[in-house]
Amino acid sequence: MSTSVRNITRIAILALACCAAVQRPPSGGSSAGSDTIRIPFESYTLPNGLTVILSADHTTPTVAVNVWYHVGSKNEMPGRTGFAHLFEHIMFTGSGHVPYGLHDKLTEGVGGGNNGTTSNDRTTYFETVPSNYLESALWLESDRMGFLLDKLDIAKLNAQRDIVKNERRQSYENQPYGLVSEILSHATYPASHPYSWSVIGSMADLSAASEEDVKNFFRLYYAPNNAFLAVVGDFDPAQARAWVAKYFGDISRGKPVTRPSAPPVTLASGQRLVYEDRVQVPRLYIEWPTVGVKNDDQYALDVLGSILTGPRTARLTKALVYDQQAAASVSAYQSSNEDVGEFFLMVIPRPNHSLTDLEASADAIIEKLKKEGPTEDEIRRAAAGDELAFLRGLESNLGKAMTLCDGAGFHGDPGYFRTEYQKSQAVTAADVKRVANKYLTDGRVVLSVVPLGKLDQASKPSESKKVTIEKMPSPEVKR
């Protein structure tokens, strides 16, 4: 998932949000049974369509509020890439009854925090506050859901536009290898496909965004019927229900939202690209289009990633980093979005080892796995860490709020984390072999990033097509 955030210095908090969470059963047992994978919650829908999820946990006197809007960069129109994320920034510039700055004062200024993040699929806003500040947090969120446009300030829009451009410079353009994900997206998806552009968007499109764009986007996507509100932590559920009704109940329902068509793709043939960057060490990236969170193959693809790289016993890590000592590091993983996904491989070579050789070595290891499948022991090791990861996720109110909203937004079930856990644990060696053969095919993008002027350091340099920011690649696609 490609994500941009309001404030990078506080991104650490998001790491917690990646883990789902469970509740210890009264018996206190901790065996990895599905009985332990539990978050107690209640969920209901207001007449205006807002889905509300409440989960009380009095361990720490804090509470997390998360508002999850089902809109992301895939809802953007060509020519307005980056808009969903720019809009996220505008949501922090004040609203009808909340002057600019008060949002930070009532969150960070009282010992809590706030941030927003935008992905291809959704935009999410959250506060963590001492539990006695829950009512003001709900007031803040309801005001920007209901009354953002009342105080829309063009000077603030322009300042946020400059800030987002600096975010692009800091996290992409001025970052060694920072443009890789953007190049790979362009190479994997046809230009009309909503996953072909990056969440951060292009500089030109960011410049083009107008006040009218902001208004239209808000009216269509920031309505309660397109939103999910989770409250997790130390609060009284009856009181929370009353406050939610009080602050969100009178916000009008919006028009039904049409979701963009974004089917998974298959590449008719391989693409081989080379990008020159201000780096000293070349890198090899390979991306295979796969599937998103609604396709159960994602679970076997996750396991495939941890069988290939990560611990030193993982196949590619062991072969390239330890036995051959040809790579300084290697990593492979499945990334699942709502509609599509990708499987990535990255190799950082050691000096005097060419990307061409490393690609061939990696391919040989992958081909062997495709032929033989993983061992039962590899499957067991891959699944053994799941329970601890779930339990640790339970220690974060915000992590739980994210998990519940993702389930509700993507699967129509806040408790979907339980299904995910069961499906992850149920992955077999045969499943992994099958998905490796189905997805890790020649229909892939191979991207070499090389130092300026060192095109010869690419993998198979003579077959590699040069790409630049101005001249992004595009695939030949078969549906």
């Binding site: 001492p130 009512e135 600096n166 050691r350 601890l388």
Partner: protein
């Protein structure tokens, strides 16, 4: 239907009351009685619940503290060694502490590296070894049922490492690649050059890991470092979570039975700081950079300064929060950056004060002017408002509960008291100490610890486009450095 609600902000209390009465009998309109202009008041502040812990000493002299938390079947374990690379690493072997830490996962007398890794994977966890500049840890978080088995692996890594020579060569090669990559990254360059400028090459704070220091490290160095460093006489074992203090002590005594007594807490004596130099801009060229990375500062006081609380309040106002002066101005108002901040790196030694962030290249000069304006401001030219002072204090005091939100956070919070020599009552007294800070204190410590006449302004960016504008600001003379922090001879 009701997207625009009547704005009652300027309507008197009397009219509000009338409106309430008038709408009360019309259910459809009764929602309009909600006065959204009124900030919902905070409820009663929750009582601060600081974890408690037991203290005891193991047979070998290591201290043991245990804090129980039973809501989840989780345990956090850490073995902390007081002292780090600055105390135990020779200047010519910078990187030795980190390499030694990594080498401890490369095999024991009974398990090679792969066997260690497989065993940890099956337990679902990883034993981390990290040696920092003033302390080091071996640590893990496990489910309570896997605690004893994981502890056995940690003990094996601590007591029986074999330090295979080929693993050293592999780790050295990997780290050299990482170092080369870091030199292409503006933030990493600033990370190396800034301390070098502040402390000089004769002070451990100013000594960076280099190709030469990595290449000089031998297997004998690793063996010797491990033997000298990991001694129970300077160790704290901290356990938090779903454990019983008496039972866990027995488990630990058994697992670490072969860790024999020895070692003592190191003295944290540092050489004198280099003589202060008049405020200077140290420019590191990064041709074509889209942004300039700023690191502005000077050596700061150690953690045990009596001014600690006043400094925290002052820095929170200056650059510790999103709406702090620096970020509110340079990011939010001017749009020059995606974020700027400031901090004091508190420890046993004179860790730096640093203000900085990444700024759009074309705004480098303008941003420097604003940085200097805010530093002068906090030293008195822009008075501290009541609201600023209250917000800074509230932010610091009320974030305390989240310090104890997870077993690993509790572990860290309590271990910090031990490494920094703070009293057991520290967290209970924290609110009172922060609350006592005055506006005069804020200005006093800003003047005392941010030395505007001897400031080091490190900027990593595109020299060709930023040097002229920086010179034109007239703020300070410019010295051009290479990416290692050495003066260049060109121009």
């Amino acid at each position: 239907m009701k997207r625009k609600s009547p704005n009652l902000k300027f309507v008197g209390v009397f009219l509000c009351a009338l409106a309430l009465l008038a709408f009360a009998s019309f259910p459809l309109l009764s929602q309009q009685a909600l006065d959204r202009t009124k900030i919902p008041p905070a409820g009663k502040a929750p009582v601060l619940r600081v974890p408690t812990w037991t203290r005891t000493t193991l047979a070998n002299g290591a201290e043991l503290m245990v804090s129980e938390k039973h809501d989840l079947p989780l345990v956090s374990f850490s073995l902390t060694i007081l002292g780090g690379s600055y105390q135990f690493e020779p200047a010519s072997r910078r990187g030795l502490a980190g390499i030694t830490a990594a080498m401890m996962s490369e095999g024991t007398k009974t398990r090679d590296g792969d066997a260690l890794s497989s065993a940890m994977q099956l337990l679902g966890t990883t034993v981390g070894v990290a040696i920092g500049t003033e302390s080091g840890t071996m640590s893990f978080v496990s489910t309570s049922s896997k605690f004893a088995a994981t502890l056995d692996i940690l003990a094996d890594m601590l007591l029986n490492p074999t330090f295979p020579g080929d693993a050293l060569e592999r780790l050295r090669a990997q780290r050299l690649v990482a170092l080369t990559q870091a030199k292409a990254q503006p933030a990493s360059i600033a990370e190396r050059v800034f301390p070098r400028v502040l402390y000089g090459s004769a002070h451990p704070f100013g000594q960076n890991v280099t190709e030469e220091s990595y290449k000089a490290i031998t297997r004998d160095d690793v063996v010797a470092f491990h033997k000298t460093y990991f001694q129970p006489g300077r160790a704290l074992i901290m356990v938090s979570g779903d454990v019983n203090p008496a039972a866990v002590k027995a488990t630990i005594e058994k697992a670490l039975a072969n860790w024999s007594a020895g070692g003592s807490k190191p003295a944290f004596s540092y050489p004198e700081l280099p003589e202060r130099r008049a405020t200077t801009i140290y420019l590191v060229d990064k041709p074509g950079a889209a942004q300039s990375t700023f690191a502005i500062g000077n050596p700061g006081p150690p953690r045990n300064t009596p001014d600690y609380y006043a400094i925290q309040v002052m820095n929170t106002m200056l650059g510790g929060l999103f709406q702090s002066r620096l970020n509110a101005n340079i990011r939010e108002e001017k749009g020059y950056s995606y974020g700027v901040s400031s901090s004091f790196a508190f420890g046993k030694g004179p860790g730096p004060f640093r203000a900085g962030g990444d700024v759009q290249s074309a705004k480098t000069d303008a941003a420097l002017i604003e940085f200097m304006k805010e530093l002068r401001g906090i030293e008195g030219s822009r008075p501290v408002s009541d609201e600023e002072l209250t917000t800074a204090k509230d932010a610091l005091i009320q974030r305390l509960p989240s310090t104890f939100a997870s077993v690993s956070a509790i572990n860290g919070a309590i271990a910090t008291l031990w490494t920094q020599g703070l009293p057991d009552t520290y967290y209970q007294e924290y609110g009172r100490a922060v609350g006592a800070v005055t506006k005069d204190d804020v200005v006093r410590v800003a003047k005392k610890y941010i030395d505007l006449d001897h400031l080091n302004i490190v900027i990593v960016g595109d020299r060709a486009s930023i040097e002229g504008p920086l010179k034109a600001t007239g703020i300070a003379p410019i010295v051009v450095l290479d990416i290692e922090g050495n003066p260049t001879t060109s121009r």
